[in-house]
């Protein structure tokens, strides 16, 4: 199967659906998280942390561009993907769409940690992707994510040394953990372009199986989740934080599934906050009646 993505014009509908589903979940995660990170600009605890969070936001936005740009090959541009898509057709996990409560820096650094570990694992599973553009873009993204992870870990360690800080981290963890699990949920194929009929929850698992079967990603979501847990749980526990999973339980998978929130994002169900955010970020585009998006940077190579 590998190699069939070398040319985009000969894709079967199965290949195209797998590609679109994978890239929207990747691009949407980055796009929406970046949007949330920018909320910390001019609001972070110090000028230094303000600069750092702004960096993260711009990195994630850059990654969103890289993933969305691969979809240009199948006729989907930024206008269609970011500015004119029905918000219900975004496929990011709910972890990235939740708003930050004012001043909740514990949420910012914990969310970044939970996300960046997951991000690193999924990028690893894309390094040998059968789609050459996807494989090529992984390297650049990974080098930046490494810095994000170190930044988040360092902040977590600092905050956890303080009683008040640790208490706030625990609150954030209790709230965010179920949403972090949505990162490993299969995505319902988004209704992009002309194919407006496909919004079938039952297809999600099958399409993700296609993603792996076609070699677009080389690990299953279950494998990624289990690897993620083996990293984040011991680390968080080492900071005296309690994680709501019992890895020695008889049926840990079922326990985890029970923790998942009602709206998972990947399934097209979102929290109210996402619709408000989408409304705000498309406001200028709509109010000025724009029909195209301005690019000022060159399209990424490869």
């Amino acid at each position: 199967m590998a190699g069939s993505f070398e040319a985009s014009d000969g894709l079967s509908s199965r290949e195209r659906r797998a590609l679109e589903t994978l890239l929207t979940r990747l691009g949407d995660d980055e796009f929406v998280l970046a949007e949330r990170y920018t909320e910390w600009q001019v609001r972070a605890p110090s000028l230094e942390s303000d600069l750092a969070l702004a960096n993260n936001a711009q990195d994630e936005l850059g990654h969103a561009r890289l993933w969305y740009d691969v979809l240009a090959d199948v006729g989907l541009d930024e206008r269609a993907l970011a500015y004119e898509r029905d918000p219900a057709d975004f496929r990011h996990g709910t972890l990235v769409e939740l708003p930050f409560e004012t001043g909740d820096w514990a949420d910012a650094v914990l969310r970044s940690y939970l996300y960046d570990v997951a991000e690193d694992l999924r990028l690893e599973a894309l390094t040998a992707s059968s789609h050459p553009k996807i494989a090529d873009r992984v390297g650049k993204i990974r080098s930046e994510e490494k810095y994000h992870r170190e930044h988040a870990r360092s902040w977590l360690e600092r905050l956890a040394e303080d009683d008040d800080g640790r208490g706030r981290l625990q609150d954030a963890l209790d709230r965010l953990f179920p949403h972090a699990l949505t990162l490993f949920e299969p995505a319902v194929p988004p209704r992009l372009g002309a194919k407006a009929s496909e919004n079938d929850v039952a297809k999600a698992a099958a399409v993700d199986a296609d993603v792996v079967d076609l070699g677009l990603r080389t690990a299953t979501l279950e494998e990624l989740r289990s690897e993620w847990l083996s990293i984040v749980v011991p680390f968080l526990e080492s900071l005296d934080l309690a994680v709501a999973v019992d890895r020695d339980a008889e049926n840990p998978e079922a326990d985890l599934d029970a923790l998942l929130p009602d709206a998972r994002g990947r399934d097209g169900a979102h929290t109210e906050a996402w619709f408000d955010l989408h409304d705000e970020l498309t406001r200028t585009y709509r109010e000025l009646g724009r029909t195209e998006t301005t690019t000022i940077m060159e399209a990424p190579d490869g």
């Binding site: 001019v42 303000d50 001043g103 600092r158 800080g165």
Partner: protein, 312 residues
Amino acid sequence: MNLETVRARAGPRAFSPADDLPEEYREAATRMIEFHANSEIMGAYLERPFIRQAPSIDRKLAYSAKVQDEIGHGQLLYRAAESLGVKSREEMLEDLANGDGKFLNCFHYPMESWVETPMIAFFVDGAAMRRQATLRRTSWEPYAHAMDKVCFEEGFHVKHGEDILRELMTGSRKERRLTQEAFETWWPRIIQFFGPTDDRSTHHDFAVSVGLKQRSNDELRNAFLDQYIPKARNYGLEIPDEPRIREREDGTYEVEEGDLDWDEFFTVAKNEYEPGREQIRGRRTAQEAVQWVREAIERDGAAGSHAPRAAD
């Protein structure tokens, strides 16, 4: 060094932290640089909503980077101010939060729509560029040094602002109309950016005599008008009838200062203009909300260690 010596030796980048400078100089320089640093922070505060409201990903990236640059300039300038030994960065940031810190008039006015963004990013930043370029020759070396980096980055901001203006003024009729309206609202404030005529400016003479300030308000404002009136017209903007602008025989411009609202200007300058107070309060609330982080870090044994850690 006494004041006479300072005046005699005043020249570009003449003084550094190695010099023993009189209090008058150090206080005047602190006031000037602190004002500049505060303006960077409040400018960033004003523009931050447009990161989200930008109508494309590239514009969003550029806006996020711009706001980040302004915070970086603030950081750099507070350091240059701190090096005068009068006030610490914490004190300056605290004064800014509680409404004692002063900053540029334009950043007291709220911004509501994308069509207003080039009023700051092109005109105000362009005006700032003119002033900052002259400050590369200021007598306080750390300030001049900071200006090298600031001017370099501001150049990109102004280009981006100009590109947004060009896009709006070549866009739909609605976009052109809204942009013209925004221009009419902002134009008098932009002209007032340079402050009142020199003979009404409180600190002007001293700052010039010790080399802190290189050019007068009037010179800078006139140079700005000469450069930006043709630019504005070139993009299809109409210069409002008021304040009256006189074109001299040599093609340069002069504004009828009496047409500008100086009562409002001085109200703004004293942080007493209500919408500006709202901006100050908004930023203060955001700062108070993360006070717990600063306290948590101070408690966790890092007291006294200012060494940067990865978490910065």
